[in-house]
Symmetry: C2
Subunit: 358 residues, 2 copies
């Protein structure tokens, strides 16, 4: 028997949880204070209702698991209400911050074992129920923080049914980790993109994919993110201060023509990037890439991937480098280490422009 689930908050995360669990045969209900969110979730087939704020009555529903999927600034309040309303249910809070929420909860709640942080590492640049997907959590990691062993077992069951993986961290470790890998990059990317507001159009016209990648997450939702950032202020500030100081030192080094100091940061950047697990960490050596020039015509990519399919080599990733509005591009195909030569030769023999030298 799968547990019955109730979801508070029908944004991207809450609605995606509802869609995903329903697909796995769960009995799922949901609520939101925003009538528009409720309507959108209902359109997607979610059993959603408008939240009743006052009075906080014992619910006539008895879900075994309640997901709290509201902005972090109101998560503590929402957890308190859910704890009262839903008797013995496990309360899973998806917030991307932990310490500030725990600090706002009574020991009765945090000591109960049935309140737990469950943060899915599945952010997107889009928000709202309209962007929800049943597969949003497929292969994504959820970080579980405080809570009892029984709570952990139940959470693991539900998250696994959504296709997710699990890690467990102390709340403080969680907050330190997300400050470093998510919150600080957000502010750095936003602060860099903010420099473009007053720039000349002609300056921006020569920008390329380097700038585009660096400021991609600067497109994130300011409301949601100011809430997240405020909730993890101490950890973020510590790392962000280091970045700010590093940049100030680089300014001085540039003015002093101190090439050694500049190289030091560039080398540390190489080293730091190589530590990221995954295909793009240059130090990992787990992946190689093959570049193919294609014409930007309908069917050109299909032809290329059909060619890759014939060779029976599994692509790990694909990147397309090209200039906006121009008729061609270089497709970068990532494959496991040791397979790039076979792919390059195979594609070349089939007439693909793998070398740009014909």
């Amino acid at each position: 028997m799968v547990p019955s689930v109730h979801i508070i908050g029908c944004g991207l995360i809450g609605t995606s949880i509802a869609l995903s669990l329903r697909k796995s045969g769960y009995e799922v209900s949901a609520e939101d204070i925003n009538a528009d969110h409720v309507a959108q979730a209902q359109d997607l087939g979610v059993l959603a209702t408008l939240s009743r704020h006052q009075p906080v009555a014992k619910s006539d529903r008895h879900p075994e698991v309640v997901f709290v999927c509201v902005p972090p600034g109101v998560a503590a309040e929402s957890i308190k209400v859910a704890f009262e309303r839903f008797g013995s249910a496990l309360i899973l809070d998806v917030s991307s911050v932990r310490g500030s929420i725990l600090a706002a909860l009574d020991p009765e709640l945090t000591g109960s074992g049935r309140v737990m942080g469950a943060h899915p590492m599945a952010g997107r640049e889009v928000a709202g129920p309209g962007a929800a997907r049943a597969d949003l959590f497929q292969d994504r990691i959820w970080v579980l923080t405080e809570g009892s062993d029984a709570a952990r077992a139940t959470a693991a069951l539900v998250i696994t049914d959504m296709g997710g993986g699990l890690v467990t961290m102390d709340p403080a470790d969680h907050d330190r980790a997300v400050a470093l890998v998510s919150h600080v990059p957000q502010l750095v990317s936003s602060a860099l993109a903010a420099q473009l507001v007053e720039a000349e159009h002609s300056d921006l016209a020569i920008s390329g994919s380097g700038l585009g990648d660096t400021i991609r997450i600067a497109g994130s939702d300011p409301n949601l993110w100011s809430d997240i950032l405020q909730g993890n202020a101490t950890e973020i500030s510590r790392v962000l201060r280091q970045v700010s100081n590093e940049l100030a030192e680089l300014c001085t080094a540039l003015e002093d023509k101190d090439r050694v100091r500049i190289e030091q940061t560039l080398r540390a950047g190489n080293e730091g990037r190589a530590r990221i697990p995954g295909k793009h960490g240059s130090g990992s050596n787990r992946f190689e890439s093959v570049n193919v020039m294609i014409s930007d015509q309908p069917g050109a990519l299909a032809e290329l991937f059909a060619g890759v399919g014939v060779l029976d080599i599994n692509l790990e990733d694909v990147r397309i480098e090209h200039v906006m509005g121009r008729p061609s591009g270089i497709v970068q195909l990532f494959v496991p280490a040791g397979e790039s030569m076979e792919l390059e030769n195979g594609l070349y023999q089939r007439g693909f422009d793998t070398r740009g030298r014909q």
Copy 2:
């Protein structure tokens, strides 16, 4: 008649120019001070020789165009030697900085009209002749700076034959533009990635594509980049100081719980990013995307792109979001505005998981 071309420096750029122009029927020779680079260029079929340093004799070759493709720190010296050796040839310098090189040249050279900056916006994370491609400049913009009208006409002919586009800028405007769209993003990305050197493995294990994109260019070559950055120190320092100050103010705002100040940067980041021309600038409204969940099996991408091909819709870009080493991913297909609905419905009818809701 196409002009004869000589290339000084057989790195990524110089060797790619040689390959590209040879393909268009040019008579091309090349030289490098590094015997290994010469050998690699020769392996690619380039007529490359080891540079003769001393004495600087008049050349027995008479190229009409000479490309100087050496690190910016030695570009001025290389331009001087080329100016002497190659009588009336047009000297095109591909350096990504301008002012500091011009400052190191005699008025005789800069006033001659036959020395010109020609900077291709075609950087890659890779370097060296082994990464060279004949199509590196296909659809890429070259920024032309100083030089006579006759020089500009000749440069335009050669660059067009490499498939490139042209813009003209004053040297000072060029340096300001590349500081903003290329050099400052490089240092910001490197400084952020440098924070990961001492991080816990478990912290890095939960990182996602947001961090990965933000630090992608932190993988760039430290030797080449410290040369570039030193050559444009004044312009870079001005913008970088603003970023550093902005981050310092954000630290203070976090500590003071000044949510309004934090939101201000996040909104400015939205606005700055939307000003970038191209598909990812969220304000451009020129592109829409459709998300499709695929299994990460050989042939899955081919099947998807074959499906797109049947619908006769031209893809503008593709992104794959997935978690390393896991068996599935979401493919984001970018198409011109107004065509996403047709693509989504078409793929859905053909059995593709475009909605994640089945």
